[in-house]
Amino acid sequence: MRFSIYRYNPEIDKKPYMQDYDVDIVANSCNMVLDALLVIKNTIDETLTLRRSCREGVCGSDGMNINGKNGLGCITQLSTVKEPVIIRPLPGQPVIRDLVVDLTQFYKQYEKIQPYLQNKDPLPSTERLQSPEDRAKLDGLYECILCACCTSSCPSFWWNPEKFVGPAGLLQAYRFIVDSRDTEKQARLNDLTDAFSVFRCRGIMNCVDVCPKGLNPTAAIDKIKQEMLKEIVK
């Protein structure tokens, strides 16, 4: 199977280029895109640089652009991709080398939404319980592995990465807004009413299209807007 991979080493290369590799995926028993990339790295060209860890869709480190669509190399089956498989780094992010991108801006936006439980009530003597119904509200939110596939496919994030939180950060923002154990809902919402943080989302839904965990950031973003409206009406 032929792979055409984006290569760029800023220390040597003047500009990025695409390099072709042929991998015998049957002899190497490759199932996933990541398997083939590792065969290339281990047996053909050790200079190929990429991130990966869990190789099973849990750690979120091997987000990449496969035939034009963001996804995780480790859970994208080779049987589902067209040849030649064109692999590029996540779009719109500064490239450090080959498929490794600088996600500083992505993490800054994540930090901005204060991704931890905040509760100003006096500490109870036992743990804070949550009803099964309240717990169910976190489904479809807590599963996010911060792979950045969604945010790096979002045009609104490409144009305003310092101001727009992006789908991954907003999904997490809603995860804490809706958590029954968090008392800072109002402050969280107030932090997001400016023209960019949430409202720069134009409902393009690239994020929903690519999320390898099947999550729906657009729905979470709409819920945040609804909660804001409820706050001003009540």
């Binding site: 609104s156 144009w159 305003n160 107030n190 932090d191 997001l192 009413t193 400016d194 023209a195 960019f196 943080s197 949430v198 409202f199 720069r200 134009r202 807007k225 804001m228 001003i232």
Partner: protein, 110 residues
Amino acid sequence: MVNSMAGLRDFLIQRVSAVLLVIYTVFLVSYLVWHAPIDYMAWHGLFAYVPMKIATLLCLAALLLHAWVGMWTIATDYLKAFWVRFLFEIAVFLTLIACFFYGLLIVWGV
């Protein structure tokens, strides 16, 4: 611009103005269909009616506000150089204001 309500405000402007424009358009189109074939006198009579004048001006304002939010969004997405964006926004702003007064003159003139 942290902590401003601008995003929520613009969001509401867009939604409310969109609803107004839909109602106005549906009304106008059904009026045209209902009274077809329409002549100049009927058309003139419709716009001479004061509630219609008010509705028309309200919708014109809604349309221009809607356009402003949209153009501002496009400018902040694509025009990164301060002066370019500034001049573009001024131009859009003046055009929209001019449209409003022109519309006002027309509706008033009926």
